[in-house]
Structures are given as structure tokens and as C-alpha cells.
């Protein structure tokens, strides 16, 4: 369990590599800064308010308080917390590593044009308040849990929550300069495909911890099944995405292959422990196909999502959540409950992200100036270059 926490922590490097790899070098420092900020502040916020907000009932016995506060349970170290499987501290840290992920997803979608200050404000509110409140509805034993909604490791609670905010942010910000020309999407290639690839493999590694650890017990039977479904879905997602994009675009597109793997992983996350391997492969394969169409569709909507965050996390997150209703080996899981769950999360995320971004847009502004965008956020917001020893092309 503690190892799983370490692996989930490591996913942040995966996200960072993926995001910088798929964007231009002139914004690299900015993206890294945002990601490092998200990890550190996310952990601190989760310590301050998030964990109590998210698991209110669970701690009544310890804390007796469900309002935000900085008092952690005083005797959470009793080793028989969680029937001996792990301690309160481990639980906190594992969940805390998740918490930041929702903001990281947004970070990728808004890359290369958002002002860093407003993004920090968004992160603080979203990670500190919205994510734990939304999370408590299911994982904290809230009304969606009562309803029978199932989300094993966060297809909806983590990925869609990030994905919906990404969608709102992308709409609020508008596309990068040069992304659409006469209404037609243009390619803005990422600056380092090796780093992007490494990012995806690191994320996959992290998913061993993400899904493996979410079993929240050391039950080897369930954990090992979970890892098998996770890996098979990822593999199927990748292969199908590569295949579909080859058929569609006559090209062996590595970035689609990578996105397909991620799509498969996100898709299986909601039900990794209640699937047969066959279903896992199917869920992954459908997620892989969805990715290719979703990326193109989002382009056609004139939304500019540099790293494909919406396609991966929102579209496949929803698919995965609904898939539980279809493929779960547990008859208690119904498509209806899953559907309600998706809707509820859509509601809270869309509304809160809308409020945050549009208030900021009207007040401080959320987008950098044209000059900054053209010359790169690194030079203007950080006064630094990511690769000062290399000769660069600019676009």
C-alpha cells in the first residue's frame, strides 16, 4: 500500500513529461512549474482541509468534526485502522497523491496560454474544496454511494472531475494563436516525443499503484486481478487507437498510440476489480477507438486541448464509468446508477469550474498577452529557458 502511494506520486512525473512533451519548448518551464506547484500545494491543502472534507463520516469516531479544519485525528496511527490493512497515515497520503491529479489534468488542457497566477488560484479552490466535496459523495460514503454508484479508482471521481474542468477552462480561454486557421485545425507538434512516451509509460507504471492500491487491502486475489485488467485494457486501448488512426489517417501515429493507452487505463479505472479480463480488453479497445474520434471531434468543435486531456480523461472517464454498469461481474452495479453518478459529477464540476474561471476572467484575466504567448511563457513569466544550450526552432 505504501509502495502504491509511491507509484501514484510518481505519476506526477508522468503527467509532467507527457504535458511538456506534447507542447512547445517555449512553455516548458511554465508547465513544469505548474505541475510542481500542484503536487506540493495539493498535498498541503489535502492535509489542511481536503482529507477531512472527503472522508467525513469515516473519522467521526476519531475527530467528530466534518467541517474543514487543520486538526488531523490524534490517534490515527492505531495500526488496526482499516481492519489492519494500512494506517490512517497511509490512507491520507495515498488519497492526497490522488487529489492533485484533477488539477494536473486541467494543466495539460490549458497549457501554453493561461496566466500562471489565476491557474494557481483555480488549483487551490478546485483541489482544496471541490474535489474533496465531490469525492465525499461516493468515497466518503455520501448519497451516490448509497445509490449504488460504483467507481473503483476514479474514472469519474478523479478523471472526469479533472476532465470537466478542463473542458470549461478550454472554452473560457479560447484556442492558442495559430491553432485554427480559417476555421480549420492546425497541427502544433509537441517538442519532445521521447519525453511524452516516457510520460505515458510512467503513468502506466503509476496505474499499478493507482488501481492496485485502490483495492485498499492486501488481498492478493483481487489486487492481482485488478492489475491484469488494468494492463490488458491499456494494451488493448493502445493497439486499437493505433489501428484506428492508421485506418483513418494512413499514418502510424505514435501520439495516438500513447493516448489510446491512457484512454484504456482511464476507462478500466472505474471497474478494474469487477471485470473479467475479456471485458477489460473490450473496455480498453472501445476507449482506444473513442480517443481517436474524440480528439478529432474536439478539434472540430474548435476547442484547443494541446495534450488531449478532454478526450482521455473526460470521454474515457465517462465511458469507463458507464462500462461498469454494462460489464461488471457484480450484479448490483447498474447502468442507471452509473449514469446518475456521471450526471451529478458533471453538474458540480461544470458549475464550479465555470464560476471559478469566469469570475477570474472578468476580474484578473486568465490569458496571457499575445506577445507573451508568441514569445513563450517561460521568457515572460519565469525569465528562464528550458534548454539554453540548444538551438531552437520557434513556432
Amino acid at each position: 500500500m505504501m509502495i502504491c502511494t509511491a507509484l501514484v506520486f510518481f505519476m506526477h512525473l508522468g503527467f509532467a513529461f507527457l504535458e511538456i512533451g506534447l507542447t512547445r519548448q517555449k512553455n516548458t518551464i511554465n508547465i513544469l512549474f505548474k505541475n510542481i506547484f500542484i503536487i506540493t500545494i495539493g498535498l498541503l491543502l489535502y492535509y489542511l482541509v481536503g482529507f477531512n472534507l472527503m472522508y467525513p463520516g469515516e473519522f467521526n469516531g476519531y475527530l467528530g468534526s466534518i467541517v474543514p479544519g487543520i486538526a488531523p485525528p490524534e490517534n490515527g496511527m492505531t495500526p488496526d485502522y482499516a481492519s489492519g490493512g494500512y494506517t490512517w497515515w497511509t490512507d491520507f497520503l495515498f488519497q492526497g497523491m490522488f487529489a492533485a491529479t484533477a488539477a494536473t489534468i486541467v494543466s495539460g488542457a490549458v497549457a501554453e496560454r493561461i496566466k500562471i497566477g489565476p491557474f494557481m488560484i483555480f488549483t487551490i479552490i478546485y483541489v482544496g474544496l471541490i474535489y474533496p466535496i465531490a469525492g465525499s459523495w461516493k468515497w466518503g460514503g455520501g448519497f451516490l454511494d448509497e445509490l449504488g454508484f460504483y467507481d473503483f479508482a476514479g474514472s469519474t471521481l478523479v478523471h472526469s472531475v479533472g476532465g470537466w474542468a478542463a473542458l470549461v477552462a478550454v472554452c473560457a480561454l479560447g484556442p492558442r494563436i495559430g491553432k485554427f486557421k480559417d476555421g480549420k485545425p492546425q497541427a502544433i507538434p509537441g517538442h519532445s516525443i521521447p519525453l511524452a512516451t516516457a510520460g505515458v509509460l510512467i503513468l502506466w507504471l503509476g496505474w499499478f499503484g493507482f488501481n492496485g492500491g485502490s483495492v485498499l487491502s492486501a488481498d492478493p486475489e483481487l489486487t492481482s486481478l485488478t492489475l491484469v485488467t488494468t494492463c490488458l485494457a491499456a494494451a488493448a486501448g493502445g493497439v486499437v487507437a493505433a489501428l484506428v488512426s492508421f485506418l483513418k489517417f494512413k499514418n502510424l501515429d505514435l501520439t495516438m498510440f500513447l493516448n489510446g493507452i491512457l484512454g484504456g487505463l482511464v476507462g478500466i479505472t472505474a471497474g478494474a476489480d469487477v471485470m473479467t479480463p475479456e471485458s477489460a480488453i473490450l473496455i480498453g479497445a472501445i476507449a482506444g477507438a473513442l480517443i481517436v474520434f474524440a480528439v478529432s471531434f474536439i478539434d472540430r468543435l474548435r476547442l484547443d486541448d494541446p495534450v488531449g486531456a478532454i478526450a482521455v480523461h473526460l470521454v474515457c472517464g465517462m465511458w469507463g464509468t458507464l462500462a461498469v454498469g454494462i460489464f461488471s461481474t457484480n450484479p448490483d452495479h447498474t447502468l442507471y446508477a452509473q449514469f446518475i453518478g456521471v450526471l451529478c459529477y458533471a453538474a458540480i464540476c461544470l458549475v464550479s469550474a465555470f464560476l471559478i474561471f469566469f469570475v477570474m476572467k472578468k476580474t484578473v484575466g486568465i490569458r496571457v498577452s499575445e506577445k507573451e504567448e508568441l514569445e513563450g511563457l517561460d521568457a515572460h513569466e519565469h525569465g528562464m529557458d528550458a534548454y539554453p544550450d540548444f538551438r531552437l526552432n520557434e513556432h
Partner: protein, 112 residues
């Protein structure tokens, strides 16, 4: 034939490219250079602030027939200017002869 060398801001490259296409100049080569001039850029690194006058710029090398010279220069001057220090320079010089490698032919008509 004239060689027109323009040193411009990188962020103005797209504008210049379009302006050149508009006046019918569809062939050129460019690369990135570091320019030393009046403009300074501020940087901070690990607590040390420093300013450098070594600024990355784009260097365009355009060989045109004499009758295109004026239009080309006009186009660049208009598209590349921001009015702030550091907009760059244009230098014009003579080209004696020119060849198209594909066909081996020489002279001004290889330039279009």
C-alpha cells in the same frame, strides 16, 4: 540579382512570411541567429538577475531579381516592425550568378 538579408524578431516571422508571399516572393531560406544590439532581455536564474543583449532572432536570406528588390524590402519593413528597439535590420548586396541545382540552368529565371 540581389540578396536581401533580414534579421527580424522570431515572433514576427509568420507576419513577414505572409507579407512576402503577398508580393510574390515565394522562395527564401531562414535560420536562427543570436543578435547583439541595443535590446536587452532580463533573466533570473537561481537568484541571480542578469540581462543579456544576446537575443535570438531569425535571419532570412532572400535572393530576388532586381525588379523585386523594392517590394520585398517594403514588405519586410512593414510586417516586421513593432516600433520598439530590437526590430532588426535589412542588408542588401549583389549576387553575381545563380543556379538551380535540379536542372543545372542559371540566371534570374531560376529565382521563381
Amino acid at each position: 540579382m540581389k540578396k536581401i538579408e533580414a534579421i527580424i524578431r522570431k515572433s514576427k516571422y509568420s507576419a513577414v512570411k505572409e507579407a512576402l508571399h503577398e508580393v510574390g516572393v515565394n522562395f527564401f531560406s531562414y535560420w536562427d541567429v543570436t543578435g547583439i544590439g541595443n535590446e536587452k532581455e532580463g533573466h533570473v536564474y537561481r537568484g541571480i538577475s542578469y540581462s543579456t543583449s544576446d537575443i535570438q532572432r531569425r535571419f532570412l536570406s532572400i535572393v530576388v531579381n532586381d525588379d523585386f528588390e523594392e517590394a520585398t524590402i517594403e514588405a519586410i519593413l512593414k510586417a516586421a516592425s513593432t516600433g520598439e528597439v530590437g526590430d532588426g535590420k535589412i542588408f542588401v548586396s549583389d549576387i553575381k550568378e545563380c543556379y538551380r541545382i535540379r536542372t543545372g540552368e542559371k540566371g534570374g529565371e531560376t529565382l521563381r
